[in-house]
């Protein structure tokens, strides 16, 4: 094993370095705040001869994803990066990438969607594409951003999976923030991630095949079913790969990671960078003798219902903190968790909190507040509003 190199880098640099270590062949990309540094860095790596790959500086994100599809179908290892409006513009093509079972990795600088236009963090962009058939991972910090990129290639390219993967890093909080990151040695990543050869053929005149057929009602549903089986099957692959990564590189990953959950009465669930703040809140509340824990959700698709329910067994109240909203319904994590419990007799009280939209700060005191509200619901049986908004500027609302 080579030595890992300690560096202090921005989140975008971390995902770019993670991608570079995976030796992609083709990188079609289009700049958008806060992800722009990714294509810039990849271009530099290529220009300096550090990475043997081709950039395609396309004219839009729709074309970026289209070129990713063309290149992946030709047998190339492909990656790109985007955010917000860019991911939205790609939306149509996201389904086609997964439907054609083309592994590829996209780093997303999670950013709010317009209108109003806003460049800061929330998870609406990737959450809005949760049904596109991509696996979705969310990083808490820059180290996770780098590590998850490497894991994403390995998991997506696994013969049992063959699906594209998004790795979310929060806008600015991670993309533009400098943190210490340990960067694995190239030869070790080469051992971890073998070269990619599509197992079911590619665009090759020696073996002509038609990709992207017209699927009539007699066939379409089975295509979708097979795709869903693949993402279901990715659950075990994710565990295996995370474990192997930990053995090789010494950093632990889980679909859902508990913190102080063993004897907890109330548990907060978070995704992305807000987890660090939530952890501080839990520490503080624990010092005050409150039985509170935290779950960090790293894998949002496939949704880890079994893991979450196991961690939450015996817990009385769950505060699901969504940095996204499905207007007219709930936050996405909340909906999925609630659905996972539908047929259970014993279940905790779930409360849905929406906060941090468009870069709104989330403070330790906000998590304390969410804890208190959930505790009150458990103690009094008064559940409060179906969706609670946290850290609201009432003056603006009026």
């Amino acid at each position: 094993m080579g030595e890992q190199k300690a560096m202090t880098i921005k989140g975008n640099m971390a995902t770019a370095m993670g991608a570079k270590l995976c030796r992609p062949n083709v990188i079609p990309a289009y700049p958008i705040t806060p992800s722009t540094l990714f294509p810039e860095k990849m271009s530099e790596f290529v220009a300096d001869g550090e990475l043997d790959a081709s950039m395609i500086n396309v004219e839009s994100e729709h074309s970026a994803m289209s070129a990713c599809i063309g290149a992946a179908a030709t047998g190339a290892r492909v990656c790109t990066a985007s955010a917000s409006q860019g991911v939205a513009l790609m939306h149509e093509m996201l389904f086609i990438a997964s439907g054609m079972r083309l592994p590829m990795v996209m780093a997303v600088g999670n950013r709010a969607l317009s209108a109003p236009i806003n460049i800061w963090c929330d998870h609406q962009d990737t959450v809005a594409s949760r049904d596109s058939g991509w696996l979705q991972f969310y990083a808490e910090n820059n180290q996770e951003g780098l590590d998850l990129m490497i894991n994403a290639f390995r998991i997506g390219e696994d013969k049992r999976v063959l699906l594209p993967v998004m790795v979310g890093i929060d806008a600015f909080v991670l993309t533009h923030t400098i943190e210490g990151v340990d960067v694995p040695a190239q030869e070790d990543v080469d051992d971890f991630l073998p070269p990619y050869e599509p197992p079911h053929g590619k665009l090759d005149p020696k073996e002509p095949a038609t990709f992207g057929s017209f699927g009539t009602p007699e066939y379409y549903q089975e295509f979708k079913q097979a795709q869903v089986e693949a993402i279901e099957g990715s659950r075990d692959v994710i565990d295996e790969v995370f474990e192997e990564y930990e053995e090789m590189f010494g950093r632990e990953y889980n679909k859902a990671t508990p913190y102080y959950c063993d004897d907890a009465e109330i548990v907060l669930i978070t995704m992305g960078s807000m987890t660090g703040t939530a952890r501080e809140a839990v520490k503080k509340l624990r010092k005050e003798g409150k039985k509170v824990g935290l779950i960090k959700l790293t894998v949002f698709r496939p949704f880890p219902s079994p893991e979450l329910k196991e961690i939450l067994s015996g817990v009385k109240g769950v505060a699901v903190v969504d940095r996204n909203i499905s207007p007219g319904a709930y936050g996405a994590m909340y909906s999925d968790l609630a659905a996972a419990y539908t047929n259970d007799e014993e279940k905790p009280i779930l409360k849905n909190f929406i906060t941090g939209l468009g870069g709104r700060e989330i403070f330790v005191k906000n998590f304390e507040e969410m804890y208190e509200m959930t505790k009150k619901a458990v103690d009094t049986g008064n559940l409060g509003k179906p969706v609670e908004w946290i850290n609201v500027n009432e003056d603006v609302l009026r």
Partner: protein, 292 residues
């Protein structure tokens, strides 16, 4: 195998009888040969040729969506180069007129500007046929379509056809040509030049649709021929985007009146003598510019 015998677009596909697109693709692939990868757009071509579990294609192809044949092909071409497999392999991006003139125009422009070694072929039947004959920026003045219907207050399509090939040529690409399924030797010569071009080439192929133009299914070739003989559709080629010095490859000795082209097509049947005169005048002016 001799080019004539080479069949890479199989019979038995589901195009309407007399469809121009099938003829165009079959002839183009005879020239391109088996070492070709194609991308196609959503539209008639995809529907008639890729119904799972069948395919009409004897070469590898990929269909992704409606507006992005050019960008999917860009990914294919760069991947081939990066994997060391481009040598001797042609990449052809097919698009309908809708997928080229309208919704795919941005992707096409990007592909041309980036200089990919791709031959882009637009199969122009002058409307969105697959969705039921809606107007496109390729639809000519006076044609009745389902979204530009002729009526008491409407002549049908009221805007002229967008000069797509000239616009593509204006990107400064090494080779641009217009062609028609009525002039196969001319078409094939241009296909050969296009695929031998190092860099982007654009081929605009006139391809009548009996269903949408409402003419007899056995009139497809003669209608296409009339378009050339009347000067409605001019066959030309240009190198390095030099449209001031384009080469008109088929010059009718004496142009036939446009009426002969318009009358057999029921999409034009509402046109009055005066309307036809107006169209004739515009065609005359255009042909004068082309020098015949």
């Amino acid at each position: 195998m001799a080019e004539e015998e080479l069949e890479l677009f199989a019979s038995g596909h589901r195009a309407c009888a007399g469809c121009g697109e099938g003829t165009a693709v079959r002839q183009i692939l005879k020239v391109a040969g088996p070492d070709t990868i194609a991308t196609i757009c959503t539209g008639c071509l995809e529907v008639i040729s890729t119904g799972y579990p069948e395919t009409a294609w004897e070469i590898p192809i990929i269909h992704a969506a409606f507006e992005n044949s050019a960008s999917v092909a860009s990914g294919v071409e760069v991947a081939l180069k990066e994997l060391g497999k481009k040598e001797g392999v042609n990449v052809i991006a097919f698009g309908g007129d809708g997928g080229t003139f309208d919704i795919g125009f941005q992707a096409l422009s990007g592909m041309l500007e980036r200089g990919h070694n791709i031959t882009y072929v637009c199969l122009d039947n002058e409307a969105y046929m697959n969705t039921g004959i809606q107007r496109c920026s390729s639809t000519p003045y006076g044609a009745s379509t389902t979204t530009s219907p002729a009526g008491k207050l409407s002549i049908g399509e009221h805007r002229p056809k967008k000069p797509i090939a000239a616009i593509c040529a204006a990107h400064g690409i090494p080779y641009t040509a217009t062609a028609s399924i009525s002039h196969i030797p001319d078409l094939k010569k241009k296909v050969k030049k296009a695929i031998e071009t190092d860099g982007p080439a654009f081929l605009h192929v006139f391809s009548p649709c009996p269903t949408g133009w409402r003419h007899g299914s056995d009139d497809t070739i003669s209608i296409a021929r009339l378009a050339v003989e009347t000067g409605v559709f001019v066959l030309w080629e240009a190198e390095d985007g030099d449209i001031c010095n384009l080469n008109v490859t088929v010059k009718p000795k004496k142009r036939k009146p446009v009426e002969e082209y318009l009358r057999p097509q029921r999409r034009f049947r509402h046109l009055s003598e005066k309307d036809i005169e107006k169209i004739q005048k515009e065609v005359d002016e255009k042909c004068e510019k082309y020098g015949f």
